[in-house]
């Protein structure tokens, strides 16, 4: 008892208290833009050095400043690409993925300055420029990602209306069971329209439909148009179809936003891998021909 009371316990308590009381801000605002400032200082220093230091015969990757900028650039790229490992490797210790993301975004943006200065504004059709272009593709897709992360979550939350993905699918399944029995009194042609809604894959739109939310071949919309509210049985089916349409819209909205939150990664990650491959070729060829 006495031994437990002294030592480690207290510091965890004060750290926990600090956590429970800590500010609640996004990765962009993390620690009052700490990484933005670091990135600005880094880029500012690079610009100043480029402007003030006399490079002979002309600014390019081969001067000592060019090598320095290139080394900083390649180390940054390798470190930035480790975010994917950090995210999945849940080790102990006081790291925070939010801080990593924050640093990833701002230091990644600073590469625009560092990488461009490293080129000395010399571009042509070779592996060096390929590496530069790939880096810019990675950075631009990253900016797309930051914009997606900053704007889409609120829509995702609003669309969810407190339902989980499973609950949305369950709600649809419940509507389908009711539709199945409600369609019994309908005539053959109309009943077939209703049955078509039940058998249609809700993801039938493919990748395009998923990203745009446009499903022109939606059987539910078609059945809704064809089945009126004439008598009690029709009215009931119509009301159920209307509910089904709404439920489908929610599920499709959910899928659309989730897809938009991820689609940029399909460019960002492969471009990163290609960038690292091009970088290796760039570095080896530079030293080979040195």
């Amino acid at each position: 008892m006495a031994s437990r009371a002294s030592g480690a316990g207290k510091s965890r308590f004060s750290r926990d208290e600090a956590r429970r009381d800590s500010d609640h801000v996004s990765f962009l605002k993390h620690r009052r833009f700490r990484w933005l400032w670091i990135a600005l200082v880094l880029s500012g220093t690079a610009v100043l050095a480029y402007a003030l230091i006399d490079q002979e015969p002309r600014p390019n990757g081969g001067t000592w400043l060019g090598y320095t900028l290139g080394t900083i650039g390649v180390l940054l790229i390798l470190w930035l690409s480790l975010l994917g490992v950090r995210k999945r490797h849940i080790t102990t210790g006081a790291w925070s993925l939010k801080a990593w993301t924050s640093a990833h975004v701002y230091l990644g943006l600073s590469l625009i300055v560092i990488g461009t200065l490293h080129t000395g504004f010399q571009v042509s059709w070779n592996v060096h420029t390929l590496a530069y272009v790939l880096m810019m593709v990675v950075i631009l897709s990253g900016i797309w990602g930051v914009i997606a992360y900053a704007t889409l979550p609120a829509h995702l939350s609003a669309n969810r209306r407190e339902m989980t993905r499973i609950e949305m699918l369950d709600a649809l399944a419940a509507l389908d069971r009711q539709l199945d029995s409600a369609a019994q009194p309908l005539e053959r042609a109309e009943a077939d329209l209703v049955l078509a809604t039940l058998t249609q894959d809700i993801f039938h739109g493919g990748a395009w439909g998923r990203l745009t939310g446009s499903y022109p071949a939606c059987a539910t919309a078609r059945a809704l148009k064809a089945i009126g509210t004439g008598d009690e049985a029709h009215a009931r089916v119509h009301a159920l179809l209307d509910k089904r349409r709404e439920q489908l819209a929610q599920i499709r909205g959910y899928l659309r936003i989730k897809a938009l939150l991820e689609i940029w990664l399909f460019l960002h990650i492969p471009a990163t891998i290609a960038l690292i491959a091009a970088l290796i070729a760039h570095v080896i060829s530079v030293f080979y021909y040195w």
């Binding site: 009371a5 308590f13 926990d16 609640h24 993390h30 900053a150 939350s157």
Partner: protein
């Protein structure tokens, strides 16, 4: 009338079975009476294949029956076989309705009309109770059953379910689930809505009703059970419906009434109280003995040992030492003084005031859940701000309480026989002061469960603890200048009040003049501004309120109501004023507190004029959070949905830092204004999950986390008791291939919780135990860096907060992006 047995054992659970087996083994004439058609009904009703645990591991089993951890079927099979070969005289389908007579000749009346005569009775009926029977003509019809084991075994029947609770609804849904069974299922509800059932069950029932799978009859009661039909009392008169089977699920009657009818006294009127027992399990009615869960021992091993012991006692074996003797000896052997178990029990029982009323049996049981400590002078017993819900009692020596956080030399003594640490037990909050031994101390640390059981069984102890805790709370709150004598008149006039969630304690504009201290739970302060209640602040346990009206004589300036089920101490305003007059330092402190609260109120009111939106957002968000249990939380995960990208990295991190199972469900749960309360443990001040844990496996750890230790038996009580649904039952999954193997070679399921199928297959391959145990968030206790869910959030959406820090205007209106 049959022969006169030496002993009749009522109830064939582990306790009754073990008693009967012992009686058979020593040749004592006996009869084992069981109301159902099989032995050990409670375990019989466990789900098929359930793994039954044998805790506590250090308790030896003393029984003629074997018992070890294993599957339900294996355990029941062993017992059935051993009862048969041991020639135990069993009477099945025998429900006892009444017991008459006295020691030496009891007459036990059965429902069938038969009467069994016995010299002594052992009651081992557990705490399940009997289902409530229908109260209408024909209630004894064979069509009626009170339980439904397998809804799949009935076909082509008109079945009526009576009862509108979860059990009834679930039975009805089960019977109607498969249309191929062609059952016509009707459910009767006395009232118009299903208020007692879970919302999810009601939704399923209403859906089944819309689809015509179940007939739901509201405001309908059974009038008469006839052959093949049921007469109903409906709102529009009587109506008969065809009916071949009735499933009555109208709740059950706790066994207390039945037990008290035999003249057996309970230790108090509290619902959690147990019968008063002698050291040989004899009740206040001579000749009737109580063992097992009904005596307060819910674990199977305890029950079986008691069954053995009680028969030995009845057989005149007075020297039998209880089976827990070696455990107690081990508990005491580090204490100085070389005393044996009986001597130590004497020291604790005689010296500690609150244990005075306990029998030796109760004292022994209390010891099992408690720890005996010996301290040298100067040893720290606990420190300020440590979590701790145990209560200490001083058997020898005295302690010093460091009342000032800044100066350890200012102390208040607590003398031999008294208690300390009770604030943690009552409020669930951290230790308020550091306590050291002042001289050599022998102290007993009562775990929360043991202490609560003591308070429920011993009214004297409960009164003593209440008085001491009020006095200490006053002294602690108002600083070190006060003495016990100063507050004595206030303590004498104090009154403890229970408040249910939402109950108003102080009404704005009223002119009552009492002052209140929050003893447990928490309160919210609201003020009517522009015709709407606006949330002003959150008051945790240990705060006081109502002082403004007392000090300046004004009307109440705000409404104070309970955020959750709470307890407040009401003190008369006059007494408080008298105390202030005598104590200028206290007066200043009270005035300073008052000024602080005034300033908060004025700030919110001034904001209301300029930024109505912000104040509304603050007020409504705070109210939403309190509605979702944040008021009773100590550390809760919240997700800002303006930042959450739905990557579920929080869940994955949780699984990867805890044996591969996630203890949180990000998507589930309620949201308001983009603030989402996921299904995840709140680490409540008074954890509901702890309420009924047979092996006492749920504790509050050193960092304030509520966790389940390895003695969990997988009974699922905590899961049912948690109002927030954050406890899951699952088997420990097998180890996954490493992250590197996954990244490079795609080995295993990757980061996060493995899919159920993978876990099941891999566990079978590695022959891992399948026992499902309760798992829940442990706040990443022992993991350097703190909660993984927060560390692993890439955007800062996941935060863990405490209500006293988060329910403030600044925090709730912060611009996060």
């Amino acid at each position: 009338m049959s022969d006169l047995y030496k002993v009749a054992i009522i109830g064939s659970g582990p306790a009754g079975l073990s008693a009967a087996a012992r009686a058979a083994a020593i040749g004592m004439s006996h009869v084992l009476i069981e109301k159902t058609d099989h032995l050990s009904d409670t375990i019989f009703k466990y789900q098929k294949g359930k793994h039954v645990m044998a805790t506590p591991a250090n308790l030896v089993l003393r029984s003629d029956l074997d018992f070890d951890a294993g599957k339900r079927e294996a355990i029941l099979g062993t017992w059935d076989e051993q009862i048969a070969t041991g020639r135990v005289n069993v009477k099945l389908n025998a429900e006892v309705t009444k017991v008459e007579g006295a020691k030496g000749n009891f007459a036990i009346h059965l429902r069938s009309g038969e009467v069994v005569a016995a010299e002594a009775i052992v009651l081992a009926i557990g705490t399940q109770g009997n289902p409530n029977r229908l109260r209408c003509p024909g209630a004894d019809s064979p069509m009626i059953q009170y339980q439904l084991d397998d809804p799949g075994e009935y076909f082509d029947e008109h079945i009526t379910v009576i009862g509108s609770g979860d059990a009834g609804i679930e039975n009805a849904l089960g019977l109607a689930a498969d249309p191929a069974q062609r059952n016509v299922v009707t459910i009767l509800n006395r009232s118009a809505d299903f208020a007692r059932a879970k919302a999810a069950n009601v939704a399923l029932l209403e859906e089944a009703e819309r689809e015509g799978r179940i007939f739901v009859r509201r405001e309908t009661t059974p009038a008469e059970v006839r052959d093949g039909e049921l007469l109903l009392d409906t709102r529009d008169g009587q109506e008969a419906i065809p009916c071949q089977r009735i499933i009555a699920r109208t709740g059950s009657q706790p066994p207390r009434g039945f037990v008290e009818a035999m003249g057996i006294e309970f230790s108090s009127s509290e619902p959690g109280a147990f019968p008063k027992l002698s050291p040989v399990f004899e009740t206040t009615t001579p000749g009737i003995h109580v063992i097992g869960a009904l005596a307060g021992y819910p674990l199977i091993k305890h029950c079986m040992n008691q069954g053995y012991d009680v028969i030995e006692f009845l057989n005149g074996n007075a020297d039998l030492k209880p089976a827990d003797e070696p455990i107690l000896a081990e508990k005491f052997n580090h204490l100085p003084g070389n005393r044996n178990v009986d001597e130590w029990l004497g020291v604790f029982g005689d010296n500690i005031g609150i244990l005075a009323d306990l029998s030796t049996l109760q004292l022994r049981e209390l010891m099992l859940d408690s720890t005996a400590h010996a301290y040298e002078p100067g040893d720290v017993i606990f420190r300020r701000n440590e979590p701790g819900s145990s209560m200490f009692a001083i058997a020898e020596g005295s302690v010093a309480v460091e009342v000032s956080p800044h100066d350890p030399s200012i102390t208040v003594p607590i003398e031999q026989g008294s208690i300390f640490g009770e604030v943690g037990l009552i409020s669930g909050r951290r230790r308020g002061a550091t306590v050291r031994a002042a001289e050599p101390v022998i102290a007993l640390e009562l775990s929360r469960t043991a202490a609560l059981k003591l308070l429920a069984t011993s009214p004297g102890a409960a009164r003593a603890v209440t008085a001491i805790s009020i006095e200490r709370q006053l002294l602690q709150m108002f600083g070190s200048g006060l003495t016990r004598e100063d507050v004595a008149p206030l303590v004498a006039s104090a009154e403890v009040m229970q408040a249910r969630a939402g109950q108003v304690i102080v009404t704005e504009g009223a002119d009552d003049k009492d002052i209140f201290i929050i003893r447990r739970g928490s309160m919210i302060v609201e003020k009517e501004i522009g015709g709407k209640p606006v949330f002003l602040s959150y008051l945790p346990a240990g705060s006081y309120f109502g002082e403004m009206a007392v000090i300046d004589g004004s009307a109440r300036t705000a409404t104070v109501k309970a955020a959750i089920k709470s307890e407040v101490i009401r003190l008369p305003g006059d007494g408080f004023l008298a105390l202030l007059d005598k104590n200028p330092a206290l007066r200043e402190k009270a005035l300073a507190d008052m000024a602080g609260r005034r300033a908060t109120n004025a700030f919110i009111e001034s904001r209301k004029g300029d930024f109505t939106g912000a104040v509304d957002l603050y007020s409504e968000t705070a109210a939403f959070l309190v509605d979702n249990g944040i008021g009773e939380a100590t550390d809760v995960l919240l997700i800002d949905e303006k930042l959450c990208i739905g990557c579920d990295n929080c869940e994955k991190a949780c699984a990867d830092s805890h044996d591969g199972l996630s203890r949180l469900d990000r998507e589930a749960g309620r949201s308001y204004a983009h603030l989402h309360v996921p299904t995840s443990c709140r680490h409540c001040e008074h954890p509901h999950c702890m309420a009924d844990c047979p092996p006492n496996a749920i504790h509050r750890g050193p960092d304030g986390e509520v966790f389940i230790d390895e003695t969990c038996i997988g009974c699922g009580n905590c899961q049912r008791n948690c109002p927030y649904g954050v406890i899951r039952m699952d088997a420990k999954p097998p180890k996954k291939p490493s992250l590197l193997q996954w990244m490079l070679f795609g080995a295993g399921p990757g980061p996060g919780e493995a899919p159920y199928g993978w876990r099941k297959k891999e566990a079978a391959k590695q022959q891992m135990p399948e026992a499902k145990l309760a798992i829940k968030c442990d706040m990443c206790s022992g993991i350097d860096g703190g909660p993984a869910c927060v560390r692993a959030c890439p955007t800062g959406a996941a935060i863990r907060v405490s209500p006293d820090k988060f329910l403030t205007f600044t925090k709730l209106t912060e611009d996060v992006e």
